[in-house]
């Protein structure tokens, strides 16, 4: 049986260890004791111990300084962390080319949102839009505003503190073909990566009768997840594009 074999081997091993190791000659105890006592006497005194402790302490301080320097350098390389997104980004979107997107220098960056015509759709139906983005890298934000707050002269209605008033009457239903917000959707999307062809498609819908809204696609310059306005209620988050108004009835 295996267990018998196991025990047999243990006994055999024990016997073999005893027989062989006990046959080894060793020096008298006094020899080792004397050597140990000499080592004990040679141990550093109080001053030596203080120096040892100081040496270890200095090594630790240097190591900590190196670690801090490395962490600092790493953080500088990565740049500031982006602000927390108020809404989730669709999982399959491509990550932005850089965490701190910047418009390319020339030619001028541009965002166009089509269609631009006004239309009516039934409540709980969707309307599709396509944002065409050029000369811009990184990501853009998507928002919905009340159509009446954009009179077409380039101004938006301010909600105070230099922020445009957004609408909660409509929500994005899909971004780049990916359904979002299965229960109710969301009226704001932060940092949707700009694909290589510069086109972002999305749909909006509303369960509110007579909701009258427009989608806005903009480059969030200050990365604060707000559509910022200047003193004249003109966007400072540029470029931006505004889609045609949709009336849900």
């Amino acid at each position: 049986m295996d267990s018998e074999k196991h025990l047999g081997l243990e006994l055999a091993l024990e016997n073999r260890l005893r027989a062989d190791l006990d046959a080894l000659t060793v020096r008298p105890y006094a020899y080792y004791r004397e050597a140990a006592m000499q080592r004990l006497a040679a141990k550093p005194g109080a001053i030596g111990r203080v120096f040892s402790v100081a040496r270890v302490g200095a090594a630790i301080v240097v190591a900590v300084l190196f670690a801090l320097a490395a962490a600092f350098a790493l953080l500088n390389l990565r740049g500031p962390s982006p602000a927390a997104s108020p809404t989730p980004i669709p999982a399959s979107t491509t990550p932005p080319a850089s965490s701190s997107p910047t418009p390319t220098s020339s030619p001028a960056p541009l965002i166009n949102v089509a269609p631009t015509n006004d239309a009516s759709v039934p409540v709980n139906s969707t309307r599709s839009y396509t944002a065409t983005i050029s000369n811009l890298s990184g990501c853009v934000d998507l928002a919905v505003v009340d159509a009446n707050t954009y009179p077409g002269d380039g101004t938006f209605r301010s909600a105070g503190n230099g922020i445009a008033e957004l609408s909660s009457d409509a929500a994005f239903r899909s971004v780049n073909g990916i359904p979002v917000g299965a229960t109710g959707g969301t009226g704001y999307f932060s940092c949707i990566a700009i694909p290589s062809d510069g086109r972002i498609t999305f749909t909006i819908d509303s369960g509110t009768a007579n909701a009258f809204v427009r989608p806005v696609v903009f480059f969030d310059v200050s990365d604060n997840n707000r559509f910022d306005l200047d003193a004249n209620n003109r966007p400072t988050d540029k470029p931006f594009g505004v889609g045609g108004a949709t009336l849900f009835n």
């Binding site: 196991h6 055999a12 091993l13 006990d22 080894l24 080592r39």
Partner: protein
């Protein structure tokens, strides 16, 4: 265990040092390193406050010496690399010890536990406490060592073990 005075403590160490040294030779395969480790352990044994918390001097010496040997091996790693081609005359008695041949088949941890269990007669509980492992961990390490030895020995058709089982 009541606190021993210097003389009693010295007697206790003397009573077990030879067995511990042999176990150390088995564990590290070198008389020189085993003796160094034992001396380090004896130095530690004479420090104040040690004897009060030692239940079994042999087990304690073995554990402390093994630690010292491991530290010394780390310190001497470069030296070993430089001198490994210069073959010192091996201890003749060690080469004849077939038990050491057996132990070389095991990992360092398995060797330490096997010697503690079968040569120093430590219980699995004592091994677990000294090495800060669970009892089941100590048991399984020894069991794995035994299984490994059995596999190797069956391959080699070792006579003495076949007779034993």
């Amino acid at each position: 265990m009541e606190t021993l005075d210097d003389h009693e403590w010295d007697d206790a160490l003397e009573a077990c040092y030879a067995r511990v040294l042999r176990a150390l030779i088995g564990a590290c395969g070198s008389r020189e390193r085993a003796e160094d480790g034992l001396q380090d352990a004896l130095v530690a044994a004479w420090k104040p406050g040690v004897r009060e918390r030692v239940q079994r001097p042999d087990a304690w010496l073995y554990r402390v010496a093994l630690r010292a040997i491991r530290r010394a091996r780390w310190r001497r790693r470069f030296e070993v690399k430089l001198t490994e081609d210069v073959r010192d005359e091996a201890e003749p008695s060690l080469d004849r010890v077939s038990a050491l041949e057996l132990l070389r088949k095991l990992t360092p941890r398995q060797r330490e536990f096997v010697l503690a269990r079968y040569f120093l007669d430590l219980s699995y509980r004592e091994i677990a406490e000294l090495w800060a492992v669970s009892i089941s961990g100590a048991t399984s390490t020894v069991a794995q060592a035994i299984a490994r030895l059995r596999r190797d020995l069956e391959k080699e058709d070792d006579g003495w073990i076949r007779k034993s089982i």
